[in-house]
Protein backbone atom coordinates (compact mmCIF):
# COMPACT_ATOMS: atom_id res chain seq x y z
CA UNK A 1 0.00 0.00 0.00
CA UNK A 2 2.85 2.37 0.76
CA UNK A 3 4.07 2.01 -2.81
CA UNK A 4 0.60 2.94 -4.06
CA UNK A 5 0.47 6.06 -1.86
CA UNK A 6 3.89 7.23 -2.99
CA UNK A 7 3.20 6.43 -6.64
CA UNK A 8 -0.05 8.41 -6.53
CA UNK A 9 1.69 11.30 -4.75
CA UNK A 10 4.31 11.31 -7.52
CA UNK A 11 1.53 11.21 -10.15
CA UNK A 12 -0.19 14.20 -8.53
CA UNK A 13 3.10 16.09 -8.38
CA UNK A 14 3.51 15.52 -12.13
CA UNK A 15 -0.03 16.86 -12.57
CA UNK A 16 1.01 19.94 -10.62
CA UNK A 17 3.98 20.39 -12.92
CA UNK A 18 1.78 20.08 -15.99
CA UNK A 19 -0.53 22.74 -14.57
CA UNK A 20 2.39 25.20 -14.52
CA UNK A 21 1.98 25.51 -18.26
CA UNK A 22 -1.37 27.21 -17.72
CA UNK A 23 0.26 29.73 -15.36
CA UNK A 24 2.86 30.53 -18.00
CA UNK A 25 0.44 30.62 -20.93
CA UNK A 26 -2.97 31.59 -19.55
CA UNK A 27 -4.07 34.63 -21.55
CA UNK A 28 -6.10 36.21 -18.76
CA UNK A 29 -5.28 36.74 -15.10
CA UNK A 30 -8.20 34.46 -14.19
CA UNK A 31 -6.50 31.52 -15.92
CA UNK A 32 -3.39 31.97 -13.80
CA UNK A 33 -5.48 32.16 -10.62
CA UNK A 34 -7.31 28.98 -11.63
CA UNK A 35 -4.04 27.14 -11.97
CA UNK A 36 -3.00 28.32 -8.49
CA UNK A 37 -6.30 26.94 -7.13
CA UNK A 38 -5.59 23.57 -8.72
CA UNK A 39 -2.12 23.57 -7.19
CA UNK A 40 -3.66 24.11 -3.77
CA UNK A 41 -6.08 21.20 -4.11
CA UNK A 42 -3.41 18.91 -5.55
CA UNK A 43 -1.06 19.81 -2.69
CA UNK A 44 -3.82 18.90 -0.19
CA UNK A 45 -4.20 15.49 -1.86
CA UNK A 46 -0.42 14.93 -1.89
CA UNK A 47 -0.20 15.79 1.81
CA UNK A 48 -3.05 13.41 2.69
CA UNK A 49 -1.36 10.61 0.76
CA UNK A 50 1.99 11.32 2.45
CA UNK A 51 0.23 11.35 5.83
CA UNK A 52 -0.99 7.81 5.23
CA UNK A 53 2.31 6.66 3.71
CA UNK A 54 4.53 7.88 6.56
CA UNK A 55 1.96 7.25 9.28
CA UNK A 56 2.38 10.85 10.49
CA UNK A 57 -1.07 12.16 11.34
CA UNK A 58 0.24 15.71 11.86
CA UNK A 59 0.51 16.06 8.07
CA UNK A 60 -3.29 16.21 8.01
CA UNK A 61 -3.06 19.44 10.01
CA UNK A 62 -0.82 20.90 7.31
CA UNK A 63 -3.38 19.81 4.69
CA UNK A 64 -6.14 21.48 6.74
CA UNK A 65 -4.25 24.78 6.82
CA UNK A 66 -3.62 24.52 3.06
CA UNK A 67 -7.29 23.90 2.36
CA UNK A 68 -8.34 26.92 4.42
CA UNK A 69 -5.81 29.39 3.09
CA UNK A 70 -6.11 28.54 -0.60
CA UNK A 71 -9.35 30.49 -0.62
CA UNK A 72 -7.83 33.64 0.94
CA UNK A 73 -5.41 34.30 -1.92
CA UNK A 74 -8.11 33.79 -4.53
CA UNK A 75 -10.52 36.11 -2.70
CA UNK A 76 -7.76 38.74 -2.45
CA UNK A 77 -7.26 38.46 -6.20
CA UNK A 78 -10.95 38.89 -6.98
CA UNK A 79 -11.56 41.72 -4.55
CA UNK A 80 -8.35 43.72 -4.94
CA UNK A 81 -6.34 43.15 -8.09
CA UNK A 82 -9.28 42.60 -10.39
CA UNK A 83 -11.27 45.57 -9.10
CA UNK A 84 -8.48 48.01 -9.91
CA UNK A 85 -7.34 47.20 -13.42
Amino acid sequence: MQILYLALALFLLLNLGAGMWRVVRGPTAADRMLAAQLFGTTAVAVLLLLAQATGNAALRDVALVFALLAAVTAVAFVRRTWQQA
Binding site: L47, A58, V65, V75
Partner: protein
Protein backbone atom coordinates in the same frame (compact mmCIF):
# COMPACT_ATOMS: atom_id res chain seq x y z
CA UNK B 1 12.13 -1.95 -0.25
CA UNK B 2 13.75 -0.80 -3.46
CA UNK B 3 10.75 0.64 -5.29
CA UNK B 4 9.90 2.73 -2.23
CA UNK B 5 13.30 4.43 -2.16
CA UNK B 6 13.27 4.94 -5.92
CA UNK B 7 9.83 6.56 -5.73
CA UNK B 8 10.91 8.80 -2.85
CA UNK B 9 14.00 9.85 -4.76
CA UNK B 10 11.99 10.72 -7.89
CA UNK B 11 9.47 12.63 -5.78
CA UNK B 12 12.16 14.64 -4.00
CA UNK B 13 14.09 15.44 -7.19
CA UNK B 14 10.91 16.55 -8.99
CA UNK B 15 10.13 18.78 -6.02
CA UNK B 16 13.62 20.29 -6.05
CA UNK B 17 13.60 20.87 -9.80
CA UNK B 18 10.14 22.39 -9.62
CA UNK B 19 11.31 24.79 -6.92
CA UNK B 20 14.32 25.89 -8.98
CA UNK B 21 12.25 26.34 -12.14
CA UNK B 22 9.54 28.30 -10.30
CA UNK B 23 12.13 30.56 -8.68
CA UNK B 24 13.74 31.28 -12.06
CA UNK B 25 10.41 32.00 -13.79
CA UNK B 26 9.19 34.11 -10.89
CA UNK B 27 12.26 36.35 -10.97
CA UNK B 28 12.53 36.72 -14.75
CA UNK B 29 8.85 37.26 -15.43
CA UNK B 30 8.06 40.78 -16.70
CA UNK B 31 4.40 40.69 -15.70
CA UNK B 32 3.96 41.35 -11.97
CA UNK B 33 0.72 39.40 -11.58
CA UNK B 34 2.27 36.37 -13.25
CA UNK B 35 5.18 36.64 -10.82
CA UNK B 36 2.82 36.76 -7.83
CA UNK B 37 0.98 33.58 -8.89
CA UNK B 38 4.32 31.85 -9.46
CA UNK B 39 5.43 33.00 -6.00
CA UNK B 40 2.30 31.49 -4.40
CA UNK B 41 2.96 28.23 -6.25
CA UNK B 42 6.57 28.42 -5.03
CA UNK B 43 5.27 28.74 -1.46
CA UNK B 44 3.12 25.63 -1.94
CA UNK B 45 6.04 23.56 -3.22
CA UNK B 46 8.24 24.95 -0.45
CA UNK B 47 5.75 23.73 2.16
CA UNK B 48 5.85 20.27 0.54
CA UNK B 49 9.65 20.41 0.68
CA UNK B 50 9.53 21.21 4.40
CA UNK B 51 7.20 18.24 4.88
CA UNK B 52 9.70 15.99 3.11
CA UNK B 53 12.46 17.36 5.36
CA UNK B 54 10.26 16.38 8.35
CA UNK B 55 10.08 19.97 9.64
CA UNK B 56 6.32 20.06 10.11
CA UNK B 57 6.17 23.21 12.24
CA UNK B 58 7.98 25.12 9.49
CA UNK B 59 5.69 23.53 6.89
CA UNK B 60 2.64 24.77 8.81
CA UNK B 61 4.07 28.28 8.99
CA UNK B 62 5.06 28.23 5.31
CA UNK B 63 1.60 27.04 4.27
CA UNK B 64 -0.12 29.74 6.29
CA UNK B 65 2.19 32.66 5.61
CA UNK B 66 4.02 31.89 2.38
CA UNK B 67 1.18 30.43 0.34
CA UNK B 68 -1.78 32.24 1.86
CA UNK B 69 -1.09 35.56 3.55
CA UNK B 70 1.84 36.70 1.40
CA UNK B 71 -0.22 36.00 -1.71
CA UNK B 72 -3.04 38.18 -0.41
CA UNK B 73 -0.64 40.96 0.64
CA UNK B 74 1.11 40.96 -2.74
CA UNK B 75 -2.23 41.05 -4.58
CA UNK B 76 -3.33 44.06 -2.56
CA UNK B 77 0.03 45.74 -3.18
CA UNK B 78 -0.28 45.07 -6.92
CA UNK B 79 -3.74 46.65 -6.88
CA UNK B 80 -2.28 49.80 -5.36
CA UNK B 81 0.57 49.81 -7.91
CA UNK B 82 -1.86 49.51 -10.78
CA UNK B 83 -3.99 52.33 -9.44
CA UNK B 84 -1.04 54.72 -9.37
CA UNK B 85 0.36 53.51 -12.73
CA UNK B 86 4.01 53.30 -11.63
CA UNK B 87 4.18 49.79 -13.12
CA UNK B 88 4.39 51.08 -16.67
CA UNK B 89 6.99 53.73 -15.82
CA UNK B 90 9.37 51.15 -14.38
CA UNK B 91 9.03 48.94 -17.48
CA UNK B 92 9.77 51.84 -19.83
CA UNK B 93 12.90 53.07 -18.07
CA UNK B 94 14.74 49.75 -18.31
CA UNK B 95 15.08 49.84 -22.11
CA UNK B 96 18.31 51.88 -22.17
CA UNK B 97 21.93 50.65 -22.22
CA UNK B 98 21.28 47.02 -23.14
CA UNK B 99 24.90 45.94 -23.68
CA UNK B 100 26.03 47.33 -20.32
CA UNK B 101 23.21 45.49 -18.58
CA UNK B 102 24.04 42.24 -20.35
CA UNK B 103 27.71 42.43 -19.36
CA UNK B 104 26.69 43.05 -15.76
CA UNK B 105 24.35 40.06 -15.95
CA UNK B 106 27.12 37.75 -17.22
CA UNK B 107 29.48 38.82 -14.44
CA UNK B 108 26.75 38.35 -11.81
CA UNK B 109 25.85 34.89 -13.12
CA UNK B 110 29.54 33.85 -13.03
CA UNK B 111 29.93 35.09 -9.44
CA UNK B 112 26.71 33.39 -8.34
CA UNK B 113 27.79 30.12 -9.94
CA UNK B 114 31.04 30.30 -7.97
CA UNK B 115 29.10 30.88 -4.75
CA UNK B 116 26.72 28.01 -5.55
CA UNK B 117 29.60 25.62 -6.21
CA UNK B 118 31.29 26.70 -3.00
CA UNK B 119 28.06 26.17 -1.04
CA UNK B 120 27.52 22.76 -2.62
CA UNK B 121 31.05 21.72 -1.67
CA UNK B 122 30.56 22.96 1.89
CA UNK B 123 27.23 21.13 2.29
CA UNK B 124 28.51 17.88 0.80
CA UNK B 125 31.56 17.87 3.06
CA UNK B 126 29.44 18.09 6.24
CA UNK B 127 29.34 14.91 8.35
CA UNK B 128 26.41 12.66 7.57
CA UNK B 129 24.97 12.78 11.07
CA UNK B 130 25.19 16.12 12.88
CA UNK B 131 22.92 16.13 15.94
CA UNK B 132 23.69 19.73 16.89
CA UNK B 133 22.00 20.49 20.19
CA UNK B 134 19.19 17.97 19.79
CA UNK B 135 20.75 15.66 22.40
CA UNK B 136 20.72 18.38 25.06
CA UNK B 137 17.17 19.39 24.09
CA UNK B 138 15.77 15.87 24.39
CA UNK B 139 17.64 15.40 27.68
CA UNK B 140 15.93 18.46 29.18
CA UNK B 141 12.55 18.05 27.51
CA UNK B 142 10.73 16.85 30.65
CA UNK B 143 11.57 20.04 32.54
CA UNK B 144 10.39 22.29 29.74
CA UNK B 145 6.65 21.79 30.29
CA UNK B 146 5.82 20.64 26.76
CA UNK B 147 6.66 17.53 24.77
CA UNK B 148 7.13 19.09 21.31
CA UNK B 149 10.85 19.92 21.07
CA UNK B 150 10.26 22.83 18.68
CA UNK B 151 7.84 24.53 21.08
CA UNK B 152 10.20 23.80 23.98
CA UNK B 153 13.05 25.56 22.19
CA UNK B 154 10.96 28.50 20.95
CA UNK B 155 9.04 29.21 24.13
CA UNK B 156 11.34 27.98 26.89
CA UNK B 157 14.99 27.41 26.11
CA UNK B 158 15.24 30.31 23.64
CA UNK B 159 12.26 32.35 24.74
CA UNK B 160 14.45 35.45 24.48
CA UNK B 161 14.53 35.04 20.69
CA UNK B 162 10.73 34.82 20.54
CA UNK B 163 10.48 37.97 22.64
CA UNK B 164 12.63 39.82 20.13
CA UNK B 165 10.65 38.37 17.22
CA UNK B 166 7.50 39.96 18.63
CA UNK B 167 9.33 43.29 18.62
CA UNK B 168 10.42 42.69 15.01
CA UNK B 169 6.80 42.08 13.98
CA UNK B 170 5.67 45.30 15.63
CA UNK B 171 8.48 47.23 13.93
CA UNK B 172 7.44 45.77 10.56
CA UNK B 173 3.88 46.94 11.20
CA UNK B 174 5.09 50.41 12.15
CA UNK B 175 7.16 50.51 8.97
CA UNK B 176 4.21 49.58 6.79
CA UNK B 177 1.89 52.01 8.55
CA UNK B 178 4.35 54.87 8.30
CA UNK B 179 4.44 54.58 4.50
CA UNK B 180 0.99 56.11 4.38
CA UNK B 181 -0.51 54.11 1.56
CA UNK B 182 -2.91 55.20 -1.14
CA UNK B 183 -6.37 56.51 -0.45
CA UNK B 184 -8.81 53.64 -0.02
CA UNK B 185 -11.07 53.34 -3.03
CA UNK B 186 -14.75 52.72 -2.57
CA UNK B 187 -15.29 48.97 -2.74
CA UNK B 188 -18.19 47.28 -4.47
CA UNK B 189 -20.51 45.41 -2.15
CA UNK B 190 -19.56 41.77 -1.73
CA UNK B 191 -22.08 39.43 -3.31
CA UNK B 192 -23.98 36.81 -1.30
CA UNK B 193 -21.41 34.12 -2.09
CA UNK B 194 -18.46 36.05 -0.66
CA UNK B 195 -20.56 37.08 2.33
CA UNK B 196 -21.55 33.48 3.09
CA UNK B 197 -18.01 32.25 2.51
CA UNK B 198 -16.66 34.70 5.05
CA UNK B 199 -19.39 33.83 7.54
CA UNK B 200 -18.58 30.12 7.31
CA UNK B 201 -14.79 30.19 6.91
CA UNK B 202 -13.90 32.74 9.60
CA UNK B 203 -15.33 30.74 12.54
CA UNK B 204 -13.61 27.63 11.20
CA UNK B 205 -10.34 29.60 10.93
CA UNK B 206 -10.69 30.76 14.54
CA UNK B 207 -11.34 27.19 15.67
CA UNK B 208 -8.29 25.96 13.77
CA UNK B 209 -6.27 28.75 15.45
CA UNK B 210 -7.28 27.49 18.87
CA UNK B 211 -6.59 23.90 17.80
CA UNK B 212 -3.09 24.69 16.50
CA UNK B 213 -2.34 26.67 19.66
CA UNK B 214 -3.41 23.78 21.88
CA UNK B 215 -1.82 20.99 19.87
CA UNK B 216 1.51 22.85 19.69
CA UNK B 217 2.42 21.48 23.09
CA UNK B 218 2.79 17.91 21.87
CA UNK B 219 2.58 17.97 18.06
CA UNK B 220 3.53 20.38 15.27
CA UNK B 221 1.79 23.68 15.86
CA UNK B 222 2.36 26.61 18.14
CA UNK B 223 1.91 30.34 18.48
CA UNK B 224 3.25 31.53 15.12
CA UNK B 225 1.31 29.02 13.07
CA UNK B 226 -1.89 29.70 15.00
CA UNK B 227 -1.29 33.46 14.76
CA UNK B 228 -0.90 33.35 11.00
CA UNK B 229 -4.16 31.41 10.59
CA UNK B 230 -5.83 34.04 12.76
CA UNK B 231 -4.28 36.73 10.56
CA UNK B 232 -5.77 34.99 7.52
CA UNK B 233 -9.18 35.15 9.22
CA UNK B 234 -8.73 38.89 9.70
CA UNK B 235 -7.65 39.34 6.07
CA UNK B 236 -10.69 37.40 4.87
CA UNK B 237 -12.97 39.61 6.97
CA UNK B 238 -11.39 42.75 5.54
CA UNK B 239 -11.68 41.45 1.98
CA UNK B 240 -15.34 40.55 2.44
CA UNK B 241 -16.11 44.11 3.42
CA UNK B 242 -16.42 43.79 7.21
CA UNK B 243 -15.22 46.85 9.06
CA UNK B 244 -15.04 47.20 12.83
CA UNK B 245 -16.63 50.15 14.51
CA UNK B 246 -14.64 53.36 14.72
CA UNK B 247 -14.16 53.16 18.49
CA UNK B 248 -12.47 49.75 18.15
CA UNK B 249 -9.77 51.05 15.81
CA UNK B 250 -8.21 53.56 18.16
CA UNK B 251 -7.05 52.30 21.56
CA UNK B 252 -8.39 48.69 21.58
CA UNK B 253 -6.56 47.80 18.34
CA UNK B 254 -3.28 49.20 19.68
CA UNK B 255 -3.73 47.28 22.94
CA UNK B 256 -4.35 44.01 21.09
CA UNK B 257 -1.31 44.59 18.91
CA UNK B 258 1.06 45.02 21.86
CA UNK B 259 -0.66 42.50 24.17
CA UNK B 260 1.72 39.68 23.29
CA UNK B 261 4.81 41.78 23.87
CA UNK B 262 3.45 43.21 27.13
CA UNK B 263 2.59 39.77 28.54
CA UNK B 264 6.01 38.48 27.54
CA UNK B 265 7.79 41.42 29.17
CA UNK B 266 5.62 41.21 32.29
CA UNK B 267 6.39 37.53 32.79
CA UNK B 268 10.10 38.11 32.09
CA UNK B 269 10.32 40.98 34.59
CA UNK B 270 8.30 39.07 37.19
CA UNK B 271 10.63 36.08 36.91
CA UNK B 272 13.71 38.29 37.17
CA UNK B 273 12.35 39.97 40.28
CA UNK B 274 11.81 36.63 42.01
CA UNK B 275 15.54 36.02 41.89
CA UNK B 276 15.81 33.90 38.75
CA UNK B 277 17.55 34.48 35.44
CA UNK B 278 15.69 36.10 32.52
CA UNK B 279 12.84 33.87 31.34
CA UNK B 280 13.95 30.85 33.38
CA UNK B 281 10.67 29.15 34.26
CA UNK B 282 10.04 26.96 37.28
CA UNK B 283 9.64 23.43 35.83
CA UNK B 284 6.35 22.87 37.62
CA UNK B 285 4.64 25.96 36.15
CA UNK B 286 6.45 25.93 32.80
CA UNK B 287 3.53 24.38 30.90
CA UNK B 288 1.03 26.97 32.13
CA UNK B 289 3.42 29.85 31.51
CA UNK B 290 4.07 28.66 27.97
CA UNK B 291 0.33 28.41 27.29
CA UNK B 292 -0.29 31.95 28.58
CA UNK B 293 2.60 33.33 26.52
CA UNK B 294 1.46 31.49 23.41
CA UNK B 295 -2.14 32.69 23.72
CA UNK B 296 -1.11 36.32 24.02
CA UNK B 297 1.40 35.91 21.20
CA UNK B 298 -1.19 34.27 18.92
CA UNK B 299 -3.68 37.11 19.35
CA UNK B 300 -1.01 39.74 18.76
CA UNK B 301 0.45 38.01 15.71
CA UNK B 302 -3.01 37.56 14.19
CA UNK B 303 -3.89 41.20 14.75
CA UNK B 304 -0.50 42.35 13.39
CA UNK B 305 -0.83 40.34 10.18
CA UNK B 306 -4.38 41.55 9.60
CA UNK B 307 -3.31 45.13 10.34
CA UNK B 308 -0.51 44.78 7.77
CA UNK B 309 -3.25 44.16 5.24
CA UNK B 310 -4.92 47.42 6.19
CA UNK B 311 -1.74 49.06 4.83
CA UNK B 312 -2.24 52.35 6.58
CA UNK B 313 -2.76 53.45 10.14
CA UNK B 314 -6.55 53.29 10.62
CA UNK B 315 -7.91 56.77 11.20
CA UNK B 316 -10.92 56.75 13.46
CA UNK B 317 -12.81 59.18 11.20
CA UNK B 318 -12.82 56.72 8.28
CA UNK B 319 -14.70 54.13 10.27
CA UNK B 320 -17.59 56.18 11.62
Amino acid sequence: METLTVLTWIFDSLLAMGLLWLAWRCLTCPDLFNAIVLFVAFGLLMALAWVRLEALDVALAEAAIGAGLTGALLMAALAKLQSTKTNRDIAEKSEKNVTGVQLLQCVSIALLLLVAIGLGYAVLSLPAYAPGLSIEVSANLETSGVSNPVTAVLLNFRAYDTLLEMVVLLLALLGVWSLGGAIQQRETTPGPVLDTLSRVLVPVLILVTAYLLWVGAHAPGGAFQAGSVLGAAGVLLLLAGWRPRGAMMALPLRLILVAGLIVFLAIAIAIMMIERQLLEYWPAQAGVLILVLETAATISIGATLAALFLSRCPQVEEYK
